[in-house]
């Protein structure tokens, strides 16, 4: 711990048109942890990430990344959007998509070259996709597409990662590959925030969690925070929970937020 938090959010409020999506959210994220952002559909989990990254305007609040503004810390941040957010029929191949992770580092005029190609292949290799580097992206399975997205985030060589539902609709093999990768990132001292909605795996995957539903319900180490009372407050009264084998009421995509 260097004393500077990788991510500090205070007082964050976000609204779409007139509807408030997030109210008064504040938390600090410790370094080198895997953090799950948990909450029901429409709770504002994706919006939280997008507001931190400046992709949606915030009504109020402060975001500080490694002690500075996102603008100045951009190169230290990696982002994996939801898989459905892009058109997979786009005329490009897997390696090319991974190299897009370097565009932010290249500045205005430099083009990706041999160095970016080498790094791109290395990142594809880390997610077990190097055999598919030349494959058109629509020819990949959902899980493979997700791994390409992950490889692209690795190519960003960031210290703080935001991943929006990387486990949504992927096969078991990909889920395992992603978890392996998250642990690898963690062992390198990187901090990873993951939007997640399978309650059954929360305790197994994450060191810390943020419980979100329109506001921050609770935040902290998973073993202290992932309690029936907190989940009740996050998901409302309808949820039947057996600890350690939680039912997952919000399953099935979260594209709306």
């Amino acid at each position: 711990m260097t004393g500077i938090f990788p991510l500090q959010v205070s007082n964050l409020t976000v609204a779409y048109q007139k509807k408030t999506v997030l109210r008064n959210v504040g938390f600090n994220i410790p370094e080198g942890k895997l953090i799950g952002i948990i909450g029901p559909n429409g709770a504002g989990k994706s919006t939280l990430i997008k507001a931190i990254l400046g992709l949606v305007p915030k009504v109020d609040g402060e975001v500080s990344i490694f002690g500075g503004s996102y603008r100045n810390r951009r190169k230290q941040v990696g982002y994996v959007p939801q898989r459905e957010s892009v058109d997979w029929d786009f005329p490009t191949n897997a390696l090319d998509v991974v190299m897009m992770g370097r565009y932010g580092h290249l500045g205005w005029f430099r083009r990706p070259g041999a160095e970016e190609r080498r790094l791109g292949m290395e990142c594809l290799d880390k997610v077990g996709m190097s055999a598919f580097s030349g494959r058109q992206i629509s020819q990949l399975s959902g899980g493979q597409q997700q791994r390409v997205f992950l490889a692209r985030a690795l190519a960003q060589e960031a210290d703080l990662y935001f991943m929006d539902e990387p486990f949504a609709g992927v096969d078991a093999k990909t889920e395992k590959a992603i978890i392996g990768l998250l642990h690898q990132l963690k062992s390198q001292g990187k901090t990873v925030l993951v939007v997640h909605h399978d309650l059954a795996t929360v305790e197994q995957y994450f060191d810390h969690i943020l419980l979100v539903n329109g506001e921050l319900i609770a935040a902290g180490p998973t073993n202290e925070t992932f309690t029936p009372e907190n989940l009740q407050r996050t998901y409302g009264g309808t949820m039947a929970l057996i600890k350690g084998n939680a039912a997952s009421p919000g399953y099935g995509g979260d594209a709306s937020c």
Binding site: L55, V77, Y79, D87, T92, G104
Partner: protein, 293 residues
């Protein structure tokens, strides 16, 4: 010489439109291109009225301004809660009609013919030459379109990675610090300029065909963006040359024949493209079926 100039004019127009059309198609904004090509009309009319001449620079500037106004208005209506297609329909028809009024009201004292605006006069490009210090430098349409194509190639070449990422994944582009809005308006500005540069030859209506059809043809033939851009230019050039000779043979409208040729090329690609063609897909399905049986 007439054949040469007409085909060159058509090719330059098709190449400019084709390159931009690729990005419009990939961003699912083909309709916005359609809208811009129509709503630049009042810009052209204003340029005529203000400058009292057919000075190309004025026309391009007026068109670019109205093109950006169009994009801005469409987004404004959408943000106000109107559906995207309705916003586009309202803005471009209203602006286009406004342009028609401006031109017909002032037709008597400006040298601008509505038919020419709508359908182009590519057959006459060779007579409207650019004369500098007494030297005949060739058709002015060729100069204007050549300059436009150069501008487009320069912008797209210089900012290729930005245009590409903005088209594929605008969220990542924004997160990377790429000014997505700036490149959006740059693309729309270029579409406006190329539309106007082309309109004298092919007209405001058929220019939409040049924006969309060669790019759509190229989309079916490759899995790489850079190759798609190249193919769209080739498809445009083949359409111009093929269309010209078809028009001579049929004794018909040249611009019309060019777009019909582009349409035929698209149809061929749609059926026979080895990558995404209907025939290839059918054969693949049959192979899978027989393999499964």
């Amino acid at each position: 010489m007439a054949d040469f100039w007409i085909i060159l004019t058509g090719t330059l127009a098709a190449a400019s439109c084709g390159i931009l059309g690729c990005f419009l198609i990939l961003r699912r904004m083909a309709l916005v291109g359609d809208a811009i090509s129509h709503s630049v009309l009042p810009g052209i009319a204003f340029a005529f009225l203000l400058s009292d001449s057919r000075d190309s620079v004025f026309m391009l500037a007026g068109a670019a301004v109205f093109g950006l106004i169009t994009v801005f208005l469409i987004q404004f209506l959408q943000r106000g809660g109107l559906q995207a297609d309705a916003s586009i329909g309202i803005v471009f028809t209203a602006l286009f009609a406004f342009g028609v009024i401006l031109i017909s009201r002032n037709a008597s004292h400006i040298d601008l013919d509505l038919d020419c605006v709508l359908f182009g006069e590519i057959a006459y490009v060779q007579w409207d030459t650019w004369i500098l210090n007494g030297y005949d430098l060739g058709p002015s349409a060729v100069w204007m379109l050549g300059g436009t194509l150069l501008l487009i190639v320069l912008c797209v070449g210089l900012f290729y990675k930005q245009f590409k990422l903005c088209a594929f994944d605008p969220a990542l582009a924004l997160a990377c610090g790429i000014p997505v809005a700036l490149f959006h308006y740059l693309l729309m500005g270029l579409v406006s300029v190329s539309t106007v540069a082309s309109f004298e030859s092919v007209g405001a209506i058929l220019v939409v065909g040049m924006l969309i059809i060669p790019a759509a043809t190229a989309y079916l033939l490759t899995d790489r963006l850079s190759v798609m851009l190249l193919y769209s230019v080739v498809a445009g050039a083949v359409s111009s040359a093929g269309g010209y000779y078809a028009a001579v043979w049929l004794d018909s409208s040249i611009a019309g024949a060019m777009i019909v040729t582009a349409g035929i090329l698209f149809l061929l690609a749609f059926i026979f493209s080895p990558l995404h063609g209907v025939a290839a897909r059918y054969l693949k399905r049959r192979r899978l079926k027989s393999a499964a049986a």
